[in-house]
Amino acid sequence: MLVVGLLAFAVSTKLGDPVNNMLGQSATSEEREAMRRELGLDRPFVVQYGRYLGRVTRGQLGVSYRLGIPVGELLAERLPASVELSGVAMLLTLLFGVPMGIYTALRRGSVVSKVILGGSLAGLSVPTFLIGLLLIFLFAVQLQWLPSSGRGQVVSVGPWTTGLLTASGLRSLLLPSITLALYSLALLLRLVRGELLDVLQSDHVRFARARGLPERSIHFRHGLRNALLPVITVAALQLGSLLAFSVVTETVFQWPGMGLLFLQAVQFVDVPVISSYLLLAAVAFVLINLVVDLSYRVLDPRVRSTLGGT
């Protein structure tokens, strides 16, 4: 965590000169100096890092250069939109990816499998932004069934704003979440298929067949459970890439989430926002990895005993 913090901080100090961006090229050198002092940018590196860490632990992430709003507030405002988008996309990925992967592994020669596999290859090949644009063109511009941008109507539940409770919010969520899910869906289903095929050829499945266990049990108890172990890791990493691709999706659909915020921050070199976003992403990844480790402990007896025993 400290390392990630250092990284985020290094980004925040080294990433260009915000003063230039804020004041423009025409500012005088006195004006620049004043600005610099005001932002504390004239102190030595270590002091700045120390202060930075102190601020972060107190939940103060700085003030956006571009918008002049504290980053914490900005993130709190944008976080729900992104979490809902990524969450729904992840749900779609798992809900469709795993069953389709199983189906294509078990019914190898069937036409449906071939169509799914071909489709998944296309899903990996067509860029996310293009899918988004085409969906907008089709459903929003031509058919006018669904909104092309924004979150629609949102409801506040405490500090959280949600679009999941209103019809317009759900309608707005549909296109972006499908767009976001397609790539990881294609990836996951191919992974599930590959792992399952591997496991179904393993010695222990052969032995399970040899002792006459029903095919159902071979496929779903012995096959799937072994196949899902490596899938968990990748699925978790997928959650990370959903976050990354949400930058694209949010841009296409003008979704008021963190991805859009980040993109604008990068374009404007809005350092506090960038470093805070990174910090948040890092925390998310650490949490995800923790969950993966824990689920391995639950699911794999071999891991369980190396940790518990000796």
Partner: protein, 327 residues
């Protein structure tokens, strides 16, 4: 009670677009209850494929072209996958080669036993559990109730092989196929597993097909031996006769090539020159003739049929005199 088990006319081939390459040809045998047939051959002789065929685990592009298994008075055609499936575990038990990879690492060994028991018997969960613990005790696992809870990785190789044997016999199949089931083990563990198999055969009156390349294990466990070479059985005889006075020159050469303990070294080993022909490159006539010292012109042209005399079978134009003492 269950009667003998018989395999008739097994043919297995590798499918190629340009035709089929025979891998196993015309393999037949019969095993009485409580007897052990050792099926011996070098790698590539087709012995493991024969085992796989008996439980219907031959994977494409290899396929069974024909063959019938007679078990408990029923005849089953082996090239019909749907016909063999119900036999697995119930009529034919299978002991795998490698105990380290053959058990599902994610399930407790007891649960794997319970699952197999419940697939073949009307036992309920509690009764199956009791039976499983008893089976674990039967195969010689100390404190079986405790072992029931263990995952495969917590057991040693020898113990895992015992569990595998318990899994193979739990439904009381009349035929048990053991495919190189001692090869992956150390000699001391090997001896224990062989002793276990011998005891189980005696107690349950099972017919066992013991597939191995190890003539030592055969000598110990088998009542009868069949020698395979290049996809065919070339000799079959009761174990004592075959090991002491084989009729086929290949059997003789194989026996001579086995190193024995010689306190004085024993000089050079009698080796068989050359290698077994690969499938698809079989010579005309007897497949062994290029390596055989007794080969004549006839051996090069005409394949000797497997002919029966008394309680043994032999495929050779110039058999060794039986009665010659071995070793």
């Amino acid at each position: 009670m269950t009667g003998p088990v018989a395999l008739e006319g097994l043919y297995v081939a590798l499918g190629r677009p340009d035709g089929e390459i025979p891998l196993v040809q015309d393999v037949s045998f019969r095993i009485e209850p409580g007897r052990v047939l050792g099926l011996v051959g070098e790698s590539g002789a087709g012995k493991s494929l024969t085992a796989a065929a008996l439980i219907g685990l031959v994977a494409a592009p290899v396929r069974i072209t024909s063959g019938r298994l007679g078990v408990r008075g029923r005849q089953v055609t082996l090239h019909d996958a749907d016909a063999i499936r119900p036999l697995r575990g119930k009529e034919v038990g299978f002991v795998p080669q490698d105990p380290f990879t053959s058990l599902d690492p994610l399930f407790r060994v007891g649960d794997q036993l319970v699952e197999t028991l419940r697939a073949h018997t009307p036992l309920d969960r509690a009764a199956a559990r009791e039976r499983a613990i008893q089976l674990l005790a039967d195969v010689g696992l100390p404190s079986p109730a405790e072992r029931f809870e263990h995952y495969p990785h917590q057991l040693s190789g020898g113990m895992r092989q015992r569990v595998a044997i318990a899994l193979a016999i739990c439904a009381g199949p009349p035929l048990v196929v053991a495919d190189e089931c001692t090869t992956a083990l150390d000699v001391s563990t090997q001896a224990q597993i062989v002793a276990l198999l011998a005891r189980l055969v005696e107690e349950h009156g099972t017919s066992v097909l013991l597939i191995t390349h190890d003539l030592g294990v055969v000598a110990e466990l088998a009542t009868e031996v069949a020698i395979m070479y290049a996809g065919r059985i070339v000799e079959r005889a009761p174990v004592a006769r075959l090991l002491r006075a084989p009729g086929h020159p290949y059997t003789r050469a194989l026996l001579d090539a086995v190193p024995r303990i010689h306190a004085d070294g024993g000089g050079a080993l009698p080796a068989i020159p050359g290698n077994m022909p690969r499938p698809g490159e079989l010579p005309d006539g007897c497949a062994f003739h290029p390596r055989c010292r007794r080969a004549s012109d006839r051996c090069r042209i005409e394949r000797p049929p497997l002919e029966r005399s008394g309680d043994s079978e032999l495929a050779c134009w110039h058999p060794l005199e039986t009665g010659r003492s071995g070793g």
